[in-house]
Subunit: 503 residues, 2 copies
Amino acid sequence: MNHKSINTDYDRLEVHFQKINDLRHVSAIAGWDEASMMPTGGGEARAQAMSTLDVMIHQLVTEPKVGEWIDGAKAGSSLDDWQAANLREIDRTWREATCMPEDLVAANSIARSKCEQAWRLHRANNDWKAMEPLLAEVVSLTREEASCRSESTGLGPYDAMLNLYEPDVTSEQIDAVFADLKGFLPKFADKVVNLQSADEVLPVSGDFSDVKQKALGTALMSSLGFDFEHGRLDVSHHPFCGGVPDDVRITTRYDTSSFISSMMAVVHETGHAMYEQGLPHKWRSQPVGKALSMGTHESQSLLMEMQACRTQEFMQFVTPLVQRTFLGAVSNDPAWSVDNLHRLYTRVEKSLIRVDADEVTYPLHVILRYEIEKQLIGGELAVADLPAAWNEKMMNFLDLSTENNFVDGCLQDVHWPAGLFGYFPTYTLGAMTAAQLFAAVQREIPDLLGNIRRGDFTPLLKWLRANVHNKGKFLGFNDLMIAATGETLNADYFKSHLEARYG
Amino acid sequence: MNHKSINTDYDRLEVHFQKINDLRHVSAIAGWDEASMMPTGGGEARAQAMSTLDVMIHQLVTEPKVGEWIDGAKAGSSLDDWQAANLREIDRTWREATCMPEDLVAANSIARSKCEQAWRLHRANNDWKAMEPLLAEVVSLTREEASCRSESTGLGPYDAMLNLYEPDVTSEQIDAVFADLKGFLPKFADKVVNLQSADEVLPVSGDFSDVKQKALGTALMSSLGFDFEHGRLDVSHHPFCGGVPDDVRITTRYDTSSFISSMMAVVHETGHAMYEQGLPHKWRSQPVGKALSMGTHESQSLLMEMQACRTQEFMQFVTPLVQRTFLGAVSNDPAWSVDNLHRLYTRVEKSLIRVDADEVTYPLHVILRYEIEKQLIGGELAVADLPAAWNEKMMNFLDLSTENNFVDGCLQDVHWPAGLFGYFPTYTLGAMTAAQLFAAVQREIPDLLGNIRRGDFTPLLKWLRANVHNKGKFLGFNDLMIAATGETLNADYFKSHLEARYG
């Protein structure tokens, strides 16, 4: 309960959004439960319950009095900087939730739900023809949505969709940094694959039981700075970071034939989790106290996974721990050496599948999708021509064909069937942001890699807390990057990082 | 979502109570999470979130339109029997939620919360003087509540409180059966203690790890008929049965120095859980489809724990399982024999503590509390005189003194500080109901104990499903007992059961 006195329209907004936050808290915990704890037979009743809760939350956000209070607060007495930023974020939330006509919201929800369900079936059968009309319906309705959001925000249609996930970043800005990457990565990937072809990489084998992998995972989480008083690690089908800032729930899955990917998945989710745990205490239940954007969130997971924890220094720290966990003692076995583990964790391969891609080729998967979805929303590409466009770009970027291979081509991801247009670029914005932030930390903490080698992540986390986590949504993305790194986002640090590690 | 057409006020009520049920679903899962999963640091934000959700649920139940719809439905077109019973239960829910003035609800909530928190502290210090004024305030406000509820229901004040947990049962009815027990139990307990003094009971020792105990618990749950597609077993500080009928969450705790109490705690909660899992599918999201009463719920746990699973036959079934679990193989060790385990599970001892009591002395603990709380609510006993009244009854019933020992006397339970007056008798109503139902099953299934010896609980569960679980709240308690056993509740079957097992 909020016990502050409630005198102004701004106060009323804070109380109202605390209430919304409380319901979202319960929704987040029930969502985590569904993915990690719920027995299958509970699914139907849960879906019904979650839908009711979501409708209630939406109703609270879109209540007409919220709009009136926003107007009143804008015209009202002076607010401090954080309150003003909170009002800005409340206003954004309200406009995003109210700018679309009810019938378009309903039509979108039905079309996406149908398309996503069909996708599970037709993807398994590589059946593009069956998917095409359903996806065309989703794209057509999303064009309408983009047009509504464009009117509401003053941004172009695609940018208005991008704005949902990455406010403050424009497609013009993305075009520039992606052009830079596109000029660099295909040739660089070829070079790295060629260089690595000489490396001997030994497989590691052993007893990779869930229990041992979990012990390693929690030990690593503690080292990185995850606060177990405010969070847990569990198992789910796909790793994710859920829960609430005071109680962050991350999950992973264990492949008992290898610990390699599970270990780094835990590191990745821990990066997400520490961002949530570091959100400003005073504001975390208000819109301004939430994570800044999807790209910023991804930057925090990739900073841990790619920047900090695929270094030689991290491998020096983690190798004895890995050996003791799985072999029972430290070992001289060359397969379990620092160098071999480092090689396993920095292998580059050109493949068709985004989620399996390494950090060198991953951005090409993203740029391909970004270019296509921009054309789809802009109406320059018809859904019927999507497989051909995919194949052409895949050939250009990675010399790989997806002709008639829809399951590994344009039916690969759930994002478009689910209506997530404007989401893909945030993955690579996150990777570039991570590199730029990590370079900035290294300038301020010259012995950062030495700290990591000694398993001391405290200075790194302290810097991230002060420069990213504690800011919430107080600054826009571009201002945050200038404050933290001295410049706006660019591809230079990411390219330098790749060259240093792989070149 | 409810896709039925909504034409009548009755239909509107069903839709509205489905929505309330959905929010209660999420609340139940979050409540289970809080007790079994949540890290301590999540408590503050969770309390805030749950409070907001509870307020929203209360607002939905008490909306004025609900009262209008109830009037409309009563005057409206004909309902089938289940709909009519559902309307009756909706009406009861609405009246229970709306009959008290808002300021009394708020005052109660504050006084109880203060008293319950103080109880944790003062109980630890055996400090009755500090508790007295806080408990007096709770009793005084509960008298006001009882008076409101009396006016709304036409029942006497104590009966109006009892009605919240045990609708359809009156204090007159309880007085009669408790008088019967009171005349029988004190002498009988002395006799049993005397008889058992000749028994040699051997302690069992071994490796009682959580993992082994959980394996035994889940094996037993499966045998009893718990459906793991619709439920889970986890750990919490106090065992409980939570979740929702489609997804029942039971918990236990493991004492690694002995499996004895943990095993039977799992059986007890499984009895509760199977009741929930057996509630009528078509109606479980409506008030009529919920469990009938607290006493009926307890009857289902005690039927499993006391009637079915403390038999010689159950011990014959479970002993090899227990031996294989904890000893790795079957054994001739006399401590691990059927007879010794049966003696361990049927030990009678006169003690001060209700929750540790065996089934012979337990009702005396309850009758003591019932008699006192009736006088407290009736105004015939002042809170200041509570310790003396407790001591006098404890001397009469069990020859034990609680003079100046408040922690083991009237400060023993959280119920009164939390405002739960009218709740205690349901424990013993449950025990008597369990005995009467079990006698009825045995008449209809002559080889029931043979089935149990063979680990086959299917016939028992089938009978309970048909006669109790599937009924929900369709029948009142007295009608259910007549339909299931041929007579209303009486103490005869419980007394016969005790005489057969212990006499």
